[in-house]
Amino acid sequence: MKKLMTRLTQFAVAPTIAIALMLSMGATNPTVRYHRIGHELMCVCGCNEILAECNHESCPDSPVELAELRADIAKGMSNRQVFAAFQAEYGPTVLAAPMLTRFNMVAWIVPPALLMIGIFGVMGLVRKWRLRAAAVPAEANVQGFEELRSRIRKETDL
């Protein structure tokens, strides 16, 4: 039964992942892409603003970049190609977040990895403490009962 459930899960999970990947790679309409990619790029004039949000008057760069973005999308370039073209022209700082390449992958991996280590670390710690506590049974202390009662009251009445 357990084996069957595992098989069924595998059969259910694999197509789901495949569909998710397929859909996530698919391009949507040009306006949506223009808006979305515009939020993944930076204005290079030095204002440190997201390209699609750059709003300072007479900005020398953002209209040029936006026109290039529109043209790239019209040419049918994929997101990755657009990013590569912008990076080649303006340098890596034009991308609002590092791409998943070489050392830049570290930027993406470290925070979730640390979170996972922290969560599993806490679970391991609790388990270790529980096992240690179970190994040493507490002595009965009738005299300390009142003290225990007041402590429990204190602890439960946060």
């Binding site: 709003n55 979170l115 609790v126 439960t156 009445d157 946060l158």
Partner: protein, 695 residues
């Protein structure tokens, strides 16, 4: 001839005097505490020496106040012989902004920092009888920090430096972005928060140095942390509101390094305020707590350094300067002192108890802390990664909103989940029966909300098309319902008990309940405020914007609104020239309001600024920006944003502030004593029983 009062000279001398006084406070305090600790006696009795140190600290506050007054005076009297005033003020500047000039530049803001630190120190020293010895340690540590900031304002960034050569008739003016009412209160609030973390740091370090017996220090530290946290919360959200109203890009948070700098100590402070409860209630997590409060302070200093040194590029940073050369050694010294004291006295921080169950209030606090610190690390990592990348790869990269949206947002959603689950768990261990019982109502509420939100039109499955926003928004709405129901049931359970025993009506019972345990119910209010803020943040997944050039009586549509251009024109006054458009707003054909977005050009600073016009409702904000003029026709270019649920953020902040204030108020006594106190006992017993089942 009558000698003229020279305020810049007066201010400079006041700062020098403050430095001498704080140096005396540090040295005399350290010698006295050393003598007390080793039971040795010098020429003076250590108690008397410590008292002189305390008084020097109080006098230091008076001296720094004089310096701050001298700078404000120079701004009000248009004394452009002071370089700082020349660069940050002008004659036509309205008076509230002249006052704000105190913190609008590098030198002035450092003086503000020193003044607030002296002010906090003043309060600690005046209230030294709370715990004379611990206060003496805290006062000496604060004096050490004070010496650093006074050294900086005396020698590295003097606010009273004079203009060389001819003094110009008028100043260069205040940055137009800072000429906004919130800018008069946002920086002081933020600085009160940053500087506020120095006090709990000083108490925690002092307690560790003196191997403080008992747990009273933790209660003092917690209260001071709440004060700093409250101010920082106000500062951060006032800043967000300012950015929303003034920068004109339609958002309130851009994950800029300077914004991140304020978020990091806030998160560390939040983690401390949670885990400190484990120390108070169960004598656990002592080492962790000490490091959390150290981290909050160190991150505040790191944030200050990032803002000022130019290490990372930021929209908000002060001009790049060599001031980082002063901050780095200070930060290293602080870390060194913390490490040294910790390793010397870490045996004093042994836990009284160990965790007994994975499903318990204690472990929920542990998870909460792990997630909060992961969030804090993510922000720090994203802020410093460009520097790391330059060091490793030889080229800088940008780490901006898309990175945080993908990494920090899921962590935030997980935190929201823990906010709901944590209070439902009991201390020590929670039975499965109790969990089931407590989770039923919140889970049903969450499920129903999930269905309703999908029915309204939110599509969580859009995550499969690389658009994670609606998915996270949907998760937030679901969890918000879960947490709100959990909090509501806590109030309901307690209020019913009070109602039964006192006969008061429901609302009076809730007030009574809250006053009986302000920390607990104030905390729940804060959680509720956070939920409301999260709902507001989730709205950003559905932002829309339209841009159009409008002629007279032409209109544009955004969402359900139609904007019709009535007029556009120009105006001028001594401080600025402005261009504006007058727009009538209609919804479903009915007139709603009139908006007048504008763009100003400030004469003195030769800079432009956006004046956003908005109509805010709980449903959404219609946010209209005058984006400029069409160069050919001279017609206004109008950008209209429709930002859902933004008002919830500001309302949530008000609830958070209210909840924190409630938590700061001491508990109402259960009874006057004697027979009356006895009358209350059954009610208390029942409340405890209710607490056991719920929390």
């Amino acid at each position: 001839m009558k000698p003229e009062l020279n305020m810049p000279t007066f201010g400079s001398y006041a700062l020098l005097l403050a430095l001498v006084l704080s140096a005396y406070n540090l040295l005399a305090g350290a010698i006295a505490l050393r003598q007390i600790a080793t039971r040795s006696r010098g020429r003076f009795a250590p108690e008397r020496l410590a008292e002189t140190a305390r008084r020097a600290g109080i006098a230091c506050f008076a001296a720094v106040t004089c310096a701050a007054f001298a700078l404000v005076w120079a701004a009000f009297t248009n004394d452009f012989s002071v370089a700082y005033i020349l660069h940050h003020s002008n004659r036509a500047l309205p008076w509230p902004y002249k006052f704000a000039a105190l913190w609008s530049g590098q030198e002035g803001s450092l003086l503000l920092w020193a003044w607030l630190l002296a002010g906090y120190g003043f309060v600690v020293r005046i209230r030294h009888k709370v715990d004379v010895k611990l206060s003496a340690y805290a006062s000496t540590i604060l004096a050490g920090i004070q010496v650093f900031f006074l050294l900086v304002v005396n020698f590295a960034a003097p606010p009273f430096a004079l203009v060389q050569g001819t003094v110009p008739h008028d100043g260069f003016g205040l940055n137009p972005l800072l000429q906004y009412p919130e800018m008069v209160i946002h920086p002081p609030m933020l600085y009160l928060g940053y500087v506020g973390f120095s006090v709990p740091f000083a108490f925690a370090l002092g307690a560790l140095m003196m191997r403080y017996p008992g747990e009273k220090w933790i209660s003092i530290t917690r209260r001071w942390t709440m004060v700093g946290w409250l101010f920082l919360t106000c500062g951060i959200f006032l800043g967000a509101h300012w950015a929303y109203q003034v920068l004109g890009w339609g958002g309130y948070w851009g994950w800029d390094p300077v914004e991140n700098a304020s978020l990091m100590p806030w998160i560390a402070g939040t983690a401390f305020l949670h885990s400190v409860m484990m120390q108070e209630k169960r004598g656990m997590m002592k080492k962790w707590n000490v490091w959390l409060i150290f981290s909050a302070f160190l991150l505040a200093i790191l944030g200050d350094m990032l803002t000022r040194s130019g290490l990372v590029s930021s929209v908000h940073a002060f001009a790049q300067s060599s001031i980082g050369n002063w901050f780095w050694p200070f930060l290293v010294i602080c870390i060194g002192v913390c490490l040294f004291t910790y390793f010397l006295n870490r045996d004093h921080l042994k836990s009284d108890h160990k965790l007994e169950a994975l499903v318990s209030r204690e472990s929920s606090f542990l998870f909460n802390n792990v997630v909060l610190m992961a969030a804090c690390f993510t922000v720090l990592w994203g802020t410093l990664f460009p520097v790391l990348s330059e060091f490793v790869q030889g080229n800088k990269v940008t780490v901006s909103a898309p990175f945080y949206d993908r990494v920090a947002v899921p962590i935030g959603v997980f935190l929201l989940f823990l906010t709901g689950v944590g209070p439902l768990l009991a201390w020590r261990s929670t039975s499965m029966r109790s969990i089931r019982k407590n989770l039923i109502a919140p889970s049903i509420a969450a499920l129903l909300t999930g269905i309703v939100v999908i029915a309204i039109g939110v599509r969580p499955w859009s995550i499969f098309t690389s658009t994670p926003g609606p998915f996270y928004a949907w998760m937030t709405f679901v969890l918000a319902a879960f947490v709100t129901t959990a909090i509501g049931s806590e109030f309901l359970r307690g209020a019913r008990v009070i109602q039964r025993h006192t006969g008061k009506n429901f609302f009076a019972s809730i007030v009574h309940l809250t006053r009986r345990n302000t920390r607990r119910y104030g905390g729940y209010l804060v959680h509720f405020g956070v939920v409301v803020i999260f709902i507001g943040l989730a709205g950003s997944a559905f932002n829309r914007s339209v841009e159009k050039t409008l002629d007279f009586h032409q209109s544009m549509t955004v969402g359900p609104y139609r904007l019709e251009c009535l007029d556009y024109s120009e105006d001028t006054n001594p401080n600025y020239d402005s261009e504006y458009a007058l727009l009538n707003v209609y919804r479903d054909g009915k007139y709603v309001t009139q908006l007048d977005p504008a763009k100003r050009f400030y004469q003195a600073s030769q800079q432009t600024s956006t004046i956003v016009a908005e109509r805010s409702t709980p449903e959404w904000d219609l946010y209209v920006v005058y984006a400029g003029q069409d160069p050919q026709t001279g017609q206004p270019i109008i950008r209209a944003h429709l930002n859902p649920l933004v008002m919830w953020i500001w309302v949530g902040v008000i609830i958070v502030v209210f909840g924190t204030l409630v938590a700061l108020v001491p508990n109402m006594q259960a009874g006057g004593g004697g027979a009356r106190a006895n009358e209350k006992r059954p009610e208390e017993r029942e409340l405890v029983a209710a607490g056991k089942s719920g929390s």
